[in-house]
């Protein structure tokens, strides 16, 4: 046998065609966003097995029917693990069909969520998600608890309005700030501005969202453009995990801002409104706060910063956010926003 395991370049047309054919044959949808793909070719240079990665996730695995049962997946996965290790990524996730999950369970992965018998989501830590939930459970409070999840890119009066509303209607609010550093405003700044912005609300507890809430692993299409069906799939997976998180914190309601413009957040809201109640969690969609005849949103703030209209953001943001953006410390972030072509969330 002279099989060859090698990387597949996005520019290798012949290999790409074989890749598409193999994925289609095995009934797997090819993800739009992949950062690395490898494959095993047989002696006639025919592609017989493949696997890809995107960030810390591994996906799009397929083995040709005629070559199943020979351990080719083990070779592909070993290769991808080694490559991820070279990039410094050790905490990894796998997306796969439910009936293939068992192969990954034999290779050191553990299932943490399942969507509809269609998708299984696994990680390579025996107790990763479990210990995350137990850590959160330490801040569990008696009484009515609600959750708010925000990217706060950056924190505006709109975010503040949503949190105030949740804080007024509940005994405790668990506020999750997306800790993935894929936004124009870096996480450390977003985190600080959120904490300063809600410091006077005693029943609000801030959490870093970690890898299990709207992260590049659970919800890649939140950060990178993708098709509607894909966004819905990711949103459902994200909510399957959120169910366990809500259980750990006794959360009975999630507050979300109404979404007039962004496609991905709009779809996410729809999916939440439909599936959260099935899990016994109320989904409260709160209309946007308006200031000066315009709905306040972080996209609008970024647009103003992009256009160099710093003064314009003042009525839309709390004092702490204004202080930050008008200070010299914010110059690198202001510059990044100015230089970005598209600052609105798609």
């Amino acid at each position: 046998m002279s099989d060859t395991l090698t990387a597949i370049s996005p520019h290798d047309k012949r290999a790409q065609q074989q890749l598409d054919a193999l994925l289609e044959q095995e009934g797997i949808r090819r993800d739009a966003n992949l950062d690395y793909t490898c494959g095993i070719f047989d002696e006639d240079y025919k592609l017989v097995a493949t696997g890809s990665s995107f960030g810390s996730t591994l996906r799009c695995f397929a083995v040709d029917k005629s070559r199943q049962g020979e351990g080719l997946l083990n070779q592909v996965l070993s290769h991808l693990l080694e490559r991820q290790a070279e990039r410094g990524l050790f905490h990894l996730f796998v997306y796969t069909k439910c009936d293939s999950a068992r192969f990954f369970k034999d290779l050191g992965f553990y299932e943490i969520a399942r969507v509809d018998g269609a998708l299984s989501f696994l990680e390579n830590r025996p107790d990763g998600f479990g210990s995350y939930c137990r850590r959160l459970a330490k801040s569990r409070r008696e009484g009515r608890s609600a959750a708010v999840v925000m990217n706060a890119n950056p924190f505006t009066l709109g975010h503040r309005y949503l949190v105030e509303r949740a804080a007024a209607e509940n005994d405790t609010v668990h506020l999750f700030v997306l800790s993935e550093d894929m936004s124009l405003v870096p996480f450390e700044v977003r985190w600080r501005l959120v904490r300063e912005g809600v410091a006077d609300l005693p029943n609000v507890i801030c959490h870093r969202s970690g890898p299990y809430i709207i992260s590049a692993a659970t919800f890649p299409s939140y950060f990178l453009k993708d098709e509607e069906a894909v966004i819905q799939g990711h949103a459902r997976l994200d909510l399957a995990l959120f169910r366990s998180i809500a259980g750990a914190l006794n959360i009975t309601a999630r507050y979300v801002g109404e979404e007039p413009s962004s496609q991905v957040t709009g779809l996410y809201n729809q999916v939440m409104a439909r599936y959260l109640p099935q899990a016994g969690i109320a989904c409260r969609i709160v209309p946007r706060l308006a200031a000066g005849g315009q709905a306040v949103s972080a996209s609008t703030v970024r647009q103003a910063l992009h256009d160099g209209r710093l003064e314009d953001i003042r009525p839309w943001v709390p004092e702490s956010t204004w202080r930050y953006f008008s200070s010299p410390e914010a110059e690198p972030v202001r510059r990044a926003i100015r230089e970005q072509a598209q600052v609105r969330h798609y």
Binding site: G71, N74, Q75, L77, S78, L81, E82, A85, G88, F90, D106, L107, G108, N124, P126
Partner: protein
């Protein structure tokens, strides 16, 4: 030896093992998965722990996904992962020094 960063050695292929070591939280935390757990689980565990002890590793999170590796393979994979984790794998590898 002190585990400075996460490192990996080995593969998931038959007769091999994939060993990952990470900085620990005080003590050795071993997570072992093996295709021959019922037959050789205890011996694999003993081999891994013994190798770590010889390397003077006392604080580490160690994950082993074993696919039926022989003892010599296991030792080599554990040794390599530890050397990689403390930057000893680039030059002057202490062959046979810490591990007899």
């Amino acid at each position: 030896m002190e585990i400075l960063k996460a490192a990996m050695a080995g593969t998931l292929e038959s007769s091999d093992a994939l060993v990952t070591v990470e900085p620990g939280e005080g003590g050795i935390e071993l997570n072992l998965q093996s295709s021959v757990m019922n037959q050789y689980g205890r011996q694999i565990k003993a081999t891994v722990l013994e190798t770590l002890q010889r390397l003077d590793v006392a604080d580490a999170k160690v994950t082993v996904v074993d696919k039926g590796a022989l003892d010599c393979t296991l030792k080599a994979r554990v040794e390599c992962a530890v050397f990689r984790s403390c930057g000893k794998s680039e030059a002057n590898i202490p062959w046979g020094g810490a591990v007899r």
